[in-house]
Symmetry: D2
């Protein structure tokens, strides 16, 4: 318990503070015999890495991963897999000015209330830096999914009020904001640059699509695939909403519109629409899983903000440090990771059922 673990049969446990010596993840339940190298993990970490482009934080972390256990002669053994990432660019001094003040939008106040104590170095455990461990575990999960021809792709659907108009999965990694629409990507980047110049930040929407997912994943009642995905995604600090398929729009439909009608084609059961987003009764139906998450604008902004300190006195704060003006492009691999980890867990559970 205490919140640092996720999953049942494929279970990750993470540790590490933003400005401590290292962060890492243990994955229990990795199937034996999977080819796995540090390079397999590194490629995903590089997609989340700070400093990857002009619109991300300039904190300088190479995020080099080291496999500490669970792999022998290039293959997973079935033993716990441990992945370690040393922190390099810690600069704790940057945070001395906020030592006693509660930064608006951050977890400073709530951690202080919860633990009676606070690691003020860059948010400590509450920092988004912990998501690197999710991405590392997600890289392992994606390799397992690939064996089952399941592919998870996320992208920035919107930044502020700029929405992608086309969905072309092939261009996502070709623009800094990871949008599926190059033209709109340009406008999104421009908006982000403007916000940064203002010492401000921007929110957005990330969408994800899972292709190739078989029917039958997820469990009845409380462990529905939808519930697990919601838990995994809502546990990303920056996310304030999740919807599956038509999501909040479905509330405006009638049943005759919202029900996806089944038909049969080449011996496969298919559906004519996908309002359900690939999940019926909490269990995957073999169609594309489609979901969206609401990403809040980063709370760290260089604008002056009013707040209080630990003595409950009024004070003014300016969050220095090197921050992301919009976290969407770096949340994309985190969203993919949480989905991939959830699906692998469900796959293993389903193996035990049929």
């Amino acid at each position: 318990m205490a919140g640092n673990s996720f999953g049942q049969l494929f279970k990750m446990t993470t540790f590490g503070e933003s400005h401590g010596p290292a962060i890492g993840v243990i994955i229990d339940g990795v199937p034996p015999g999977l080819s796995l190298s540090e390079a397999d993990v590194q490629v995903e970490l590089d997609r989340r890495r700070p400093g990857q482009s002009s619109i991300t934080t300039q904190r300088n972390e190479s995020d080099r991963v080291e496999i500490l256990s669970g792999v022998f002669e290039g293959k997973t053994t079935g033993a716990a897999l441990a992945l370690l990432i040393r922190n390099e660019d810690q600069r704790s001094k940057d945070y001395s000015n906020i030592k006693d003040a509660f930064r608006p939008g951050h977890a400073d106040y709530t951690y202080f209330q919860k633990f009676g104590f606070r690691d003020y170095r860059g948010g400590g455990r509450s920092s988004g830096r912990e998501t690197a461990c999710r991405v590392a575990a997600g890289a392992v999960a994606k390799k397992i999914l690939a064996q089952h021809k399941i592919h998870v792709t996320a992208y920035t659907l919107a930044v502020g009020d700029v929405h992608a108009k086309n969905i072309d999965l092939t261009v996502i990694e070709k623009n800094m904001v990871r949008a599926p629409d190059l033209a709109q990507a340009e406008r999104m980047i421009q908006k982000i640059e403007e916000a940064r110049k203002d010492g401000d930040s921007l929110g957005g929407i990330v969408e994800a699509v899972v292709k190739g997912c078989p029917a039958g994943l997820g469990d009845p009642v409380f462990d529905k695939l939808s519930a697990r995905l919601a838990a995994g995604l809502m546990s990303i600090g920056t996310i304030k909403g999740i919807e599956i398929g038509s999501g909040f729009q479905i509330s405006k439909l009638r049943g005759s519109e919202a029900n996806d009608l089944f038909y049969s084609e080449s011996g496969q059961v298919k559906i004519k629409t996908n309002h359900a987003g690939g999940i019926l009764g909490g269990i995957s139906n073999g169609q594309d899983i489609v979901l969206r998450v609401a990403v809040k604008p980063p709370s760290s902004i260089s604008k002056l903000q009013e707040t209080v300190n630990t003595a409950h006195e009024k004070t003014v704060i300016q969050v220095k440090g090197r921050h992301d003006p919009c976290i969407c492009p770096r949340v994309v691999p985190v969203v993919e990771a949480m989905i991939a980890i959830t699906l692998v867990d469900c796959l293993l559970i389903q193996k035990s059922i049929r």
Copy 2:
């Protein structure tokens, strides 16, 4: 595992099919010494009961609860609490015509794929009838929360395109649709009646507010309060989206707008806005918790629908039986229950921390 349990220290496990002999719930971890009678549970079950008004299903279930264990001389003992509800009006015959066909929007196809087998009586385990057990457990949770002066209230914010314009918590139980706005409630009810006459159904949005929640609930990383609430609410079969605080709207804000500024008043830390919905970094901040869920239109409609059967042949189906044209009024107590259960669990965990 296998999905029928929810919670860590305050943990419920449910069982029962829509048309089997009974449904029920075991709650493990109920604090000892709590006054509890069947009447305490019944009052909440009556809010979810079928047949309670002209806009709900006319299935006739009195939903009488029996306490089987965990209470002695009117008080909980610390032992597992078991609550049983016998099914009375089963009418399995109503479902014979759908025995081999997959109802659109339902879990028929996905359960069949998952288990290679299907209990076709009214959806079996996938039926919304299981939520009665959540409400029963929620009644116990609410009694515990009341001791801490924490109150959870949900209501129908929208039905189709009709939104509540005012939020008056005192009128919720005074209209059939459980809206916080009597004028709009009338319009909602009218819309529902229209849909029913058309053999169709309507979706909506349910909002919930928690008052009196102390700061410090929820855990770091994966067990954030937001993640737990999302898991609990998204596990309700009819829900396709959840957002906390400003939710999807936050994606359009800048950080300087979205950050809730702290100030101090009478020795209390407060916030000027509540975009965060009472949760910062996944932990409650002592303000009102506010969230919304997207409720899909019930899949059971009497309109003719195309589908396929277990032999993958094309067929046409008409879902008979007695169904809800809009499930919002009956989802309201279920939403409250899942929130209450989650909060009690977090309260007990927090007791172990500080």
Copy 3:
């Protein structure tokens, strides 16, 4: 948590007090498609039933089981299986004299300390009556094991200082004490009758053998098969010790004696001795699993005993009611049940691995 659940993929949750309205068990994770009737469960419950012979308690409980969910048309559906047993012969009055006194050897004092509260009716939740639920769940587990040709057999190896000299599994159910040796069974029964006449009770040792268990069950490190069996068996209230294979005797051996040497026969890896009791490194090795548990003499005796009451005053107690002079014969099916449940769980987990 709170202790009423056991298992991971095949998970049981039990409830019920000795003198409340009913006891029961929910089993989550029962594989779909298993033929299951109430008679399948009843046959095992009858082996544990009170009043089954002249050397067991004369409490009159028929222990009729009712299947409430999880079975449709005679087969398990994959949904949670719920089994209910109503208490019939409660006679709570028998316990009024011990309402305020702590019975020696019982959990009266510890429950009072734990919960600040006590259900004094026959021990409430701490009564051995809860083991009926384990036996009911064990009946389901045994059916699953039988499909894999795995068979669990337990028997009374010793009562007091009378040990079985031969192990003949075919005679176990042919004598009241469930010993594998008819001649020694007679002596055991005689000893038990003597103890009963003295208003006293007797302890013993129960041994179990699992035949047909495949290699590979159990997990590394903390979830070793040996650790799980130990947890399951030591959770039976009356058991104070467990040993696997040569157990405590192995402490007197040298490695060259204790190591079971491998050899190959008809393409099968076998071992020449079985000091390990079928478990190496916590994982089954394909040989017979052999273990023993120490069973304490029942604490309920009619002899006068000194004790204290809730006011810490000295008092004298005589435990009336109808009790077992030796619990071994009725513990036998409980031991089998806990082993069977543990093995099914491990089988399902192993299915998810390979």
Copy 4:
């Protein structure tokens, strides 16, 4: 799952192979505000360290621990605590001769059957080396227990047929074998030296006493303190039996002898005997907790042994490497660690109850 985690609110997850780059442990649920340094952990690791005396393995590992997270300014923060130990003296070459053969008494064969794959370097994950992580976590647990004036002490009660005759806790750390009786310790050491000279090994018994444990720890039914201790201790690879209080001897007693009578002294409820070993109905009764475990002779011996290889061919093996002729002295801190970890978990759970 997959076995690398232990505990509920105070939960450790370990990783690492005997001959991989490192081993380590993450502890979730460490209470915030506890003073903790690497030296606190090191002192316990040094008690388990190889090469500490002439009767332990001469493998040269300094077992230096590094705190990677969860501590800030010398105090625990409530975040996950990660402890890392690099392996130094790996000498994998020593194991090349056993690459294809199954060592008798080891987990080689069972891991191969379980995972279809085997890390043959010194047993990989099945090596006793993993217990260093338990000891590291145990050091943290002991610091927490000390705040509650609870002390756990284990010692070597017997080596082969040499038993301690006196129990003097003050001499345990003053002899290489960690016996509570200096005279018998000499004889034990002599026996161990003899076995080593013969290329053989010796088993023994380790006993543990917990002083200062409050009444009320442990949960009803499946999570009894006795069951948890049994699970934790039986998960140590070398242990084949556990008994609490009078353990297997209780099977020979009558109820009137085995029941510990309560009396009152200075307002405290006490017992006249301690056959129950401090645990009644699975819950601590405030008296000393006393238990014993059976320790098998190390399976690694330099004597020639017959076995089979992965092709099921007969072969002969000589386990080279540097091994312990008797593991009792090094198991003592591991036993203490598992008990301490279990008790802290129960303490935290009890905090949530009352």
